[in-house]
Symmetry: C2
Subunit: 308 residues, 2 copies
């Protein structure tokens, strides 16, 4: 057994998918959930993916050897502060947050160093646009990367145990600094999400358009942006506000490139358009070659179809 008692704080998409892995693969004697959402807790119990549920983090963590923070990153500071007095020496605290520098700063600042609690940042790079325990599924992590960001508060043993846990869930593991993580994620995740939120807002607000028509013909491109822009609002507010410097710089670069493209269109510079589009097509091929092209929701859909 990898762990005795694992506390999952936040039993949403990621938390509940991890709980499914811990239970179904027998990685922990006991899996308990903390959440502020009573409905989520009840659903998790009904699904049979946790043994106990708590609406108080300080009660949940007693006797735990692993606490996984899977709530929006904005809540990490207050949660760490509240649970800190009840954590045992040697307990591992990790998280699944999409920004690592802010997340670790908040956790480390609220759990005194002399508590000898072991802190390791984590980010399983997987997900769908759905939220809640019912949206989770065991295969969510398969074939995806999990980034661990160890710091001076980590131990080799804790990194090893978390590596094993995520590997059991089907993930490949990378370790890097929190800073480097945040820089890479700003480009591959935060900026794309921000742009998707923005364009869905723009198109929805267009006056002189019938909203019905926008939805009706959304399969021609808009739909794919709505999928990304359907992600959890609280989570994304927290991510964007807490990786601000890098994101603001990337927005500026993106606007520069977009304005250049706008100018190409205005002046009929078809060869420049063709050149860019050929380049992006090549990048698409690289993504496919790296086997990063099959979204989780497709897998689910297929799994469901196969059942029928």
């Amino acid at each position: 057994m990898l762990f005795k008692k694992v506390v999952i704080a936040g039993i949403g998409l990621i938390g509940s998918s991890l709980a499914r892995n811990l239970k179904n693969k027998n990685l922990a004697d006991k899996v308990v959930a903390f959440d502020k959402n009573a409905e989520y807790l009840q659903q998790a119990l009904n699904l049979g993916i946790v043994d106990e549920v708590y609406s108080s983090i300080s009660e949940a963590v007693r006797g735990a050897d692993l606490v996984v923070l899977a709530t929006p990153v904005g809540s990490f500071g207050p949660l760490a502060k509240e649970m800190s007095p009840f954590l045992e020496k040697g307990t591992i605290v990790t998280d699944v947050g999409s920004v690592k520098k802010y997340a670790l700063t908040e956790i480390e600042a609220n759990i005194p160093e002399n508590s000898e609690v072991v802190i390791v940042g984590g980010h399983p790079v997987a997900g769908t646009e759905k939220s809640g325990p019912q949206a989770g599924f065991e295969e969510l992590f398969v074939g995806r990367w999990c980034i661990l960001t160890p710091s001076s508060r980590s131990s080799d043993e804790a990194v090893k145990k978390l590596t094993e846990m995520w590997q059991f869930a089907g993930m490949k593991i990378d370790t890097m600094s929190a800073q480097h993580h945040d820089k890479v994620m700003a480009a591959v995740s935060h900026l794309p999400h921000l742009i998707a939120f923005s364009i869905v807002g723009t198109v929805a607000d267009l006056e002189g358009y019938e909203q019905k028509e926008i939805i009706k013909y959304s399969a021609s491109g808009f739909r794919d942006f709505t999928r990304i822009a359907g992600s959890d609002p609280t989570m994304w507010r927290d991510i964007l506000l807490n990786n601000k410097t890098t994101i603001l710089e990337l927005i500026q670069r993106f606007i520069e490139d977009l304005v250049a493209l706008e100018r190409n269109i205005r002046w009929d510079e078809g060869d420049k358009l063709f050149e860019l589009f050929s380049r992006t097509q090549k990048i698409r091929k690289e993504v496919i070659d790296a086997k990063q092209d099959q979204p989780e929701h497709e897998k689910r859909l297929c799994a469901e179809l196969k059942k029928n």
Copy 2:
């Protein structure tokens, strides 16, 4: 039999998917393909989805009662001009282009009115990011909308026959003016594609980033943009240059909204971010409710998985 001889000019994703429908559902006595790409013609023959192939449009169209232009819209003018002398009175010329005003202007200008050729604009709103006859499949059109844009050069009978053809392929039919079509598509298709091309370019060009890392972690958002940005470069160059006025206006609106969002992030206006993201999440639900949420490639993937 709906048609005697159908010519599909451009046996790519859309053309070959239509050919599969015409053959497999017995909608035409003969289906012939024109293409400049000899390899595509050979593939179409090997796939058994056409009866004859031609590298000359004027030879292909002889005796045809339906010609479907399924090449990039930039080629419609030259093709119409070349085939015009060989079209018979009453032959229907339609297209599958994503911009309708430009497409119809080009076709109508190059086929004299006294030829009594019947011209009806068409746009089956379906597709994947893939290209070529091997990427096509019979179910591509199922459940999607086909927009017909009749003009003074159309006839009720021709509209009726095309309606039947696309309905046999599984489509729902709408008719509207070419202008209105272009305005709606600029918002739901052209702008989203343009933004996807742009962001994939921006992220790929970031200095100080390892390209390998961008691809590796692309499942966290970037991947979904590469899918759209993997679409055919020639086709999209032609679309963007030929629906210019509306697209340039939409880019400006989009940039305004993005700059406002940038400012919200800079000034920590979390409530405004939350408000926008909640709104976009609602729009996502509308898209799902309208059953426009299941991309074609998912269906294919599932079909393939079901076979195994």
